[in-house]
Structures are given as structure tokens and as C-alpha cells.
């Protein structure tokens, strides 16, 4: 490349470096070096082919690209923050739904007991089953599915996924019950539900996020 073009190229790259500062820091840290390398090669080829006449086109093309991509990258960051907020509020939402489900379960089991049906053969003292008979489990299951459908990012959540969510939740609950047989605490109970719900819910959320951002 001719000496005069080398100087022009240096100025252009310095200008492009300044433009890069407008991108989010994470994006710049990951792709900034590559972007400069790509810009350098592209500018170099154009200058070699058309000389200084290539400069206005080069500046126009890259400025337009910069305007569009800076806006896009910042909007992606906003979306990532929205996702992070969702993840942060999930435990609270799950705790609230746990409380509601518990009440619904107890109400249903009381009705079932009042109607004269036996709920369960006598379970060991202080186990979860004492607090929450089978009828309550069914009510909780129905309520959990309802909640999952309401909070699911797309309403097309399949039956298999919902079943997985319920099975995951109850699986963890019973594992928790087994482990904490003689020291059951509603808080730990709730943690099991939380873990099951989060395990079922977060993949949905991330899949939807990935799909929306490609």
C-alpha cells in the first residue's frame, strides 16, 4: 500500500476506534479487536482498489452500519437485563405461588375429609404426607400447571413440559421429604418446590430468549 494511503488508513482506524466506544462494554471487549481487524482489511482493499475516492463510500457505509448496530446491541442488553430481572423475581413468584398452593391444597383436603373420604393411610409423623394429603397434592398439581401456563413465555407450552415440571417438583419434594424425614420444615419444603419449579421454568425462559435474539 502506498505511504499516503497508510496515513489515511491510520486516521480511518482511529476514527473507527472512537465509534466503537458507543457499543456496550461487554460487546466491545469480546468483538472490538476483531471489528477493527475487519474494518482495517475492508478499508485497505477499498483504498487499494479505488484510492481516496473510496473514502466517502467507506465512511457512509460504516456510519450507517454503526448507527444500526449500536442501537441493536443496546436493545439486546436491555433484553438481557429484563431476563435477569425475571430470574431474580422468580423465587419470589414461586414462594407466593407455594403459599397459595398450600392453602388451596389444605382447603381441598379438608373438603375431601369432610365428605367422608379417607385421605391417606396413616403416614409417619411429621412427614410431608401428614401435612399435605393426596387430594391436596392433586390440587397443588393443578394449581402448579395453571401457574406454569400463565407465566410461561409462550402459551404453547406442551403437555410433556408441564408434566415434566410437575414430576420434577414432586420428585424433589419427595427427595426432600426422604432426606429431612425427622426435621421437616416448611421453609425447606418450599425450597424443594422452588428448585423444581425453577428447574422446569428456566429452560423455557432461556429457550424463548435465545429464539427471540437470533
Amino acid at each position: 500500500m502506498r505511504r499516503r494511503h497508510e496515513r489515511t488508513l491510520r486516521v480511518l482506524i482511529r476514527g473507527y476506534r472512537l465509534l466503537l466506544r458507543a457499543y456496550p462494554r461487554e460487546f466491545r471487549a469480546r468483538f472490538g479487536g476483531e471489528m477493527i481487524a475487519t474494518f482495517r482489511t475492508s478499508a485497505c482493499k477499498r483504498l487499494e482498489a479505488r484510492g481516496v475516492l473510496a473514502i466517502p463510500g467507506l465512511i457512509l457505509h460504516n456510519t450507517r452500519d454503526w448507527c444500526l448496530s449500536v442501537a441493536k446491541e443496546h436493545s439486546d442488553m436491555t433484553r438481557a437485563f429484563r431476563l435477569a430481572r425475571w430470574v431474580a423475581t422468580l423465587p419470589l413468584a414461586m414462594l407466593a405461588s407455594y403459599a397459595v398452593l398450600r392453602l388451596v391444597g389444605l382447603a381441598v383436603s379438608s373438603v375431601v375429609a369432610a365428605a367422608g373420604f379417607r385421605t391417606l393411610s396413616t403416614p409417619p409423623a411429621r412427614a410431608i404426607m401428614t401435612m399435605f394429603p393426596v387430594s391436596g397434592m392433586f390440587a397443588m398439581s393443578a394449581a402448579f400447571v395453571g401457574t406454569a401456563l400463565i407465566v410461561a413465555p409462550d402459551r404453547k407450552a406442551s403437555v410433556a413440559r408441564i408434566a415434566l415440571a410437575v414430576v420434577g417438583t414432586f420428585g424433589l419434594v419427595f427427595i426432600g421429604d426422604g432426606l429431612l424425614y425427622f426435621a421437616i420444615d416448611p421453609a425447606l419444603w418450599g425450597l424443594c418446590v422452588l428448585a423444581g419449579g425453577a428447574a422446569a421454568y428456566l429452560p423455557w425462559r432461556f429457550r424463548s430468549f435465545r429464539r427471540a435474539t437470533v
Binding site: 460487546f27 468483538f31 479487536g33 476483531e34 475487519t38 482489511t41 475492508s42 460504516n62 446491541e73 435474539t213
Partner: protein, 120 residues
């Protein structure tokens, strides 16, 4: 190659830059500038990606596991250190095929309605 749980059709339709980047990588791994050139060649210059659009798409495609960074550099001696090479993943390959099929169906429909000339 790691198995990806996403189905290819869940990501369709693709945006034109994403489709053309995948198309460019279907020949083999390339670095950013080579992708830009391949896209410009494939579209007859109609789609000229700038570095911002290109690396924005690359970032999202990496996150969606459509592409991955290659560890190997074809010729390290001749290459700029900052350059990274990208290649399709198995999911990326399935997605670009599915999108090509979808576009081909659309072209066939346009042909049937005489919006495009019939093939010789």
C-alpha cells in the same frame, strides 16, 4: 459436536444477514472479513454487511449455538492475531438447510403464480 436441544424450525424464519452468514460458513470455517466478502458475493452486493452488523449477528448466533469459534487457524503465520475463525455447529447446519428449504418453497409458490419465470 455438542448436542443442542433446540429444534431447527424453532429458529425460523432467519433474518437475511443470519441466513447469509450461515450460508457462507456452510463451505467451511471463515473469519469475519471472509464472511463479509462471501455474503457480498452470494447476494451480488445487495447485502453488504458492516462490522457492527456482522459481529452483532455472530454474537447472537454464538449464543444460539448456530456457530462456534474454531480453535484452529488455517495459516497462523499469515494471519492477524485478532482474527477468529467461525464454523457451523450441527444445529447451525440443520437450521440453514431448513431455511433454504423454506425459501425454496416460497420461490416455487412464486413460480406457480408466474411471479418468477419458469426454470428452463
Amino acid at each position: 459436536m455438542a448436542h443442542s436441544p433446540l429444534r431447527a424450525d424453532e429458529l425460523l424464519p432467519l433474518t437475511p444477514p443470519v441466513f447469509h452468514i450461515l450460508l457462507a460458513l456452510s463451505d467451511g470455517e471463515r473469519h469475519g472479513y471472509a464472511i463479509m466478502q462471501a455474503v457480498a458475493d452470494d447476494t451480488g452486493g445487495a447485502l453488504a454487511l458492516g462490522p457492527g452488523t456482522l459481529y452483532g449477528c455472530i454474537k447472537r448466533m454464538l449464543a444460539a449455538r448456530l456457530i462456534e469459534e474454531s480453535d484452529e487457524r488455517p495459516d497462523p503465520a499469515l494471519d492477524d492475531e485478532r482474527r477468529r475463525y467461525y464454523r457451523l455447529t450441527a444445529l447451525g447446519d440443520r437450521v440453514v438447510r431448513a431455511e433454504a428449504k423454506r425459501l425454496s418453497t416460497a420461490v416455487s409458490a412464486a413460480r406457480a403464480r408466474r411471479l418468477l419465470p419458469k426454470r428452463a
